[in-house]
Symmetry: C2
Subunit: 426 residues, 2 copies
């Protein structure tokens, strides 16, 4: 029965029973964490053989003869560039493999726009105002970067096929202060949707008042399929931008963080020849170079896109049941209650949950008090401000299945309790 | 005999003979490189056992229980922090261990000053002018960072005991646009000198017009002694700044680049509690974290300061003969010619060479044409502009001894030829 059709008396009775259930959860003394998109221990074990690829008796020279033990090479050893170029479907000549964090590459590029400008444009720090498009719900750490530079963030509603292009086109056409957009175009964080070909084309083609408008194309989940038979594949923003005559409009990012070992992976940026030349010039000032030994380790372990795909199937076999468990529990407990909706992604790392207005913060606080840490409510919005207070990001991968089930029991109880509280207060 | 006392006829005769010698060098078709301070292959081999410390069967948890295979920990695992705190002689609580490049930490901190300011100061990008003190000769990559932000660099003469403190004190007292100074305080790059206790104290105590003046204390060679019985040890800038009531004035840097594997090492920053708190806040936005697996590898291999010292003695045994060879050849061939002076460092990676005015560029060009690549003349000055064109940085570590000897024969011939050319043109 839908909660919204219940009488006050029915809701009161429901609250009493939910409060009792909640108290019993609290009594368990749980300590469970679904806050971040972290792989579980069994996933991490998949990549341990990688650590044996490079040891004291290994050949430590890259295929072009570079001694990976010494200084030198700013943009990645050839085999690592080839690997990431395959994964990113990009011309290897315009791919740079850097350190362990694609988020760090994005931070550095926003910083570069802010301090140096792109391809001769005015550095953003010299402008009176800079704005950024933020499809919501989105990735909190993206928003954290633009927030840290005082950039005004404009939330853009997400549709089934990507961000609202009508709104975006209207905004960028007339406002040259808008310098960029955050995109997770495939298996988006947190909604799991993949941008349609039309959205990709329109992003590439739209007239922008700012010459230095940049699409930050964080294809973090490009190889993160949950189902073999239901794979998404986002169109290539590079090809679309070139075809549209805007070849410098995008930066593509990817990493092996959720392929091999998070924090000990390799990350890459792909862009136009002009953008890459500018990036390389800056990097030559910014660092002595990146860890080539780790690049070698990855290239030898993963080999190529097929090697990555084989490994990702093993990941999927581990995490697919977790996603299915969460979706089944949500369906069993919340379908037809009228108080919740959620996504059923076929890839990526998250399920996006929508409660009724004014319940997300309360739900997360209730869960926290019962020992279940969720991603903070509001985190999926710029400045952590979800104006309707509805969205919660569920990250099912880290906990073992038994813990996940416990955590979801608590979460669902909290969702119901928060909804009943709000409905009674109406 | 001193070249400067020679008659024109004697110089002409000398030139003819030097040109003949030079032609014979050119005929050898050499390809030798003394351009950068890179360890030689036998040095790199010393750290290969490190690669076996972490393999697929190793315990991959840090001593505080952190799973080094997953996300998390922004400031370094405890054992890596303890190791670097020992090396840097700093309170472990105020040390952060980051990625593979201390230069990158410095770049990020200059960037932070430029974009965010320090501890509430005005971001430098909002100021009409920013200036920086650059002891010369110095490290080209330091100067490259400040140059890239359009910061005006003021050369400060280096003395036997550090930079000219009279000049520095006068400048910083009255000019609040001066925001920092580059220092390599022990076995300086390239002169090899170590700052005296008095210089350290005066840097810490001097009144600065700018509240946000920062000493970038790049103690890159803190453990790089060439002789067991002739060790330098620079006074601690942190203690001096605290004693002077300027606890936030410095950032200390170190890395294992020339201890283990350059490019695949770990790097650290040490500072006051206030500065470290600000750094941690920024880092939480800037990256997903650094490579904890590599931190673990280093901590287990090096263990502690004593472990580092034992390894550095092995390095010294390899490179000391190279320094001695260079110094002996310079002495044999150039002593009493009046056209050259050089340093005889007891640590670090470089010998600093001074020719007569107007000869450095020509010397390096001659050597290059004969197949011997030296550090570019002028590189040791801001904007690569050595106003008297005298200084050349000699980096003896990379070539095997036989090649080093050949390279130095060429170099010395070029020094003489360039000097004779200049003397004849006077």
């Amino acid at each position: 029965m839908s909660y919204v059709d219940m009488s006050a008396a029915e809701l009161e009775a429901l609250r009493a029973s939910l409060e009792q259930e909640y108290a019993s959860h609290c009594a368990k003394g749980l300590s469970l964490n679904m806050a971040r998109g972290k792989p579980g221990a069994d996933q991490l074990a998949l990549s341990l053989p990688m650590l044996d690829e490079v040891n004291s008796s290994a050949d430590l020279f890259a295929e072009d003869g570079t001694d990976c033990r010494n200084y030198g090479v700013m943009d990645g050893i050839p085999e690592a560039k080839r690997l990431m170029a395959e994964v990113m479907e990009h011309d290897q000549a315009n791919v740079c493999v850097f350190g362990n964090s694609s988020l760090n590459i994005m931070f550095d590029l926003v910083t570069a726009g802010y301090t140096r400008g792109f391809l001769g444009s005015t550095p953003w720090c010299k402008l009176p105002a800079v704005k950024w498009l933020c499809p919501v719900p989105g990735y909190d750490r993206h928003f954290g970067i633009t927030e840290s530079y005082g950039i005004e963030m404009i939330p853009i509603p997400m549709r089934e096929d990507g961000p609202d292009m009508d709104e975006i086109e209207q905004l960028v056409a007339k406002d040259e202060a808008i310098k960029g957009i955050w995109c997770v175009p495939q298996y988006a964080n947190p909604t799991g949707i993949t941008y349609s070909d039309e959205v990709v084309r329109r992003l590439a083609e739209m007239p922008c008042a700012a010459d230095d408008f940049r699409i930050f194309w964080d294809n973090a989940y490009c190889v993160h399929h949950l189902y073999d038979d239901k794979r998404n594949h986002v169109a290539d923003i590079a090809a679309a931008c070139e075809a549209a005559g805007n070849p410098n409009r995008y930066f593509k990012f990817a990493s092996t963080s959720k392929v091999t070992l998070p924090g000990a992976g390799i990350a890459a940026v792909a862009a136009s020849a002009e953008n890459i030349a500018e990036i390389k010039k800056r990097i030559g000032i910014q660092t002595v170079g990146y860890d080539k030994i780790n690049q070698l380790r990855h290239a030898r372990f993963l080999r190529d896109a097929a090697g990555v795909d084989a490994l990702m199937k093993k990941h999927a076999a581990i995490i697919r049941p977790k996603f299915e468990l969460v979706e089944r529990m949500l369906e069993d407990e919340l379908a037809n209650t009228g108080i919740a909706s959620w996504t059923n992604p076929v890839g990526g790392y998250f399920i996006s949950f929508e409660g009724i207005e004014g319940t997300a913060k309360r739900t997360v606080a209730l869960a926290k008090a019962a020992g279940v840490t969720m991603t903070g409510a509001g985190a999926t919005w710029p400045l952590k401000h979800d104006p309707r207070d509805t969205n919660i990001r569920i990250a099912p991968t880290l906990p073992p299945t038994s813990e996940l089930q416990q955590a979801m029991e608590v979460f669902i109880c909290c969702v119901k309790l928060a909804a009943v509280e709000v409905l009674l207060a109406r």
